[in-house]
Symmetry: C2
Subunit: 162 residues, 2 copies
């Protein structure tokens, strides 16, 4: 039996929304697992580390912890451990926030910026390679459908004001 | 800034495969997070527990540990801890494998089957509700595109013979 035929909880007559969710989860897990493997082998890093650095690469002036966890859609607790290790490795730095003595922001160091630039380049090449047999037209159409789905799912409570 | 506008590592001109992957990851994370919350609140359970039980619900004669981890696309180590706790809770049971003294299979107990049936029903209702504003036609088209993507990504080494 091949993975293509396996649908975890799917029953033959289950509704299309469940079938859709299972396909979405499966395709994203296949890619995520491949990327996770590559990140570990090539850069001895993990997906959550990569994600934190990616967010800080994009928001180069820095982010507060709650902004980071909202952006990455993971809990504050999960982000804290990753941030601690990235600080220890000299890849990101904590900064105090003017007017709020209890809060701090984190941003990439120069070393972090350089390291992430290199990793992001490779990451993009891996994704290109993985999706190479998926044609441009299909890719564009799928992208548009996913945008529609994300809009349908979007939750105003997840806003990050920055 | 709204989540819809945030694309982790995306640069405006990055290639469509990276954009596609980021959309895929984002939509799947939004749904996964909502389901994770609901599983915790309603059933005091976790997504990995739910996934293991879902796989055993589907393969009711039982699965070996390596088959389970292949199906769920997670490492053997991760599955072991979840299986141990499900056995302790009386929801699944270990069985020896004829002709292989070192191997064992796991399957749902009657209690596990009942509990999962109930959870799966609710899970399906949650997914329906989440995707309610995404029309049937779009849903069907997205499903077909994702099937195409999964085929393009499929890896023969991931086969589970059963």
């Amino acid at each position: 039996m091949n993975f293509k035929d396996i649908d975890l909880v799917q029953e033959p007559n289950s509704k299309s929304s469940l079938r859709l969710w299972i396909r979405l989860l499966k395709s994203s897990r296949i890619i995520e697992n491949k990327l996770r493997d590559k990140l570990r082998r090539e850069f001895s890093t993990t997906m959550p580390r990569f994600d934190v650095m990616a967010a800080l690469f994009r928001f180069e002036k820095g982010l507060k912890m709650n902004e980071l966890s909202k952006l990455l859609m993971v809990s504050n607790g999960n982000v804290t451990g990753i941030v601690d290790r990235l600080v220890k490795d000299g890849l990101i730095v904590r900064m105090s926030v003017a007017g709020d003595r209890r809060a701090f922001e984190v941003r990439l160091t120069k070393k972090g910026h350089q390291e992430f630039s290199h990793q992001a380049q490779q990451h993009e090449a891996w994704v290109d390679e993985m999706l190479a047999s998926f044609c441009e037209k299909d890719s564009e159409e799928l992208l548009q459908k996913l945008d529609g789905l994300i809009s349908a799912l979007s939750d105003p409570s997840l806003e990050v004001k920055k």
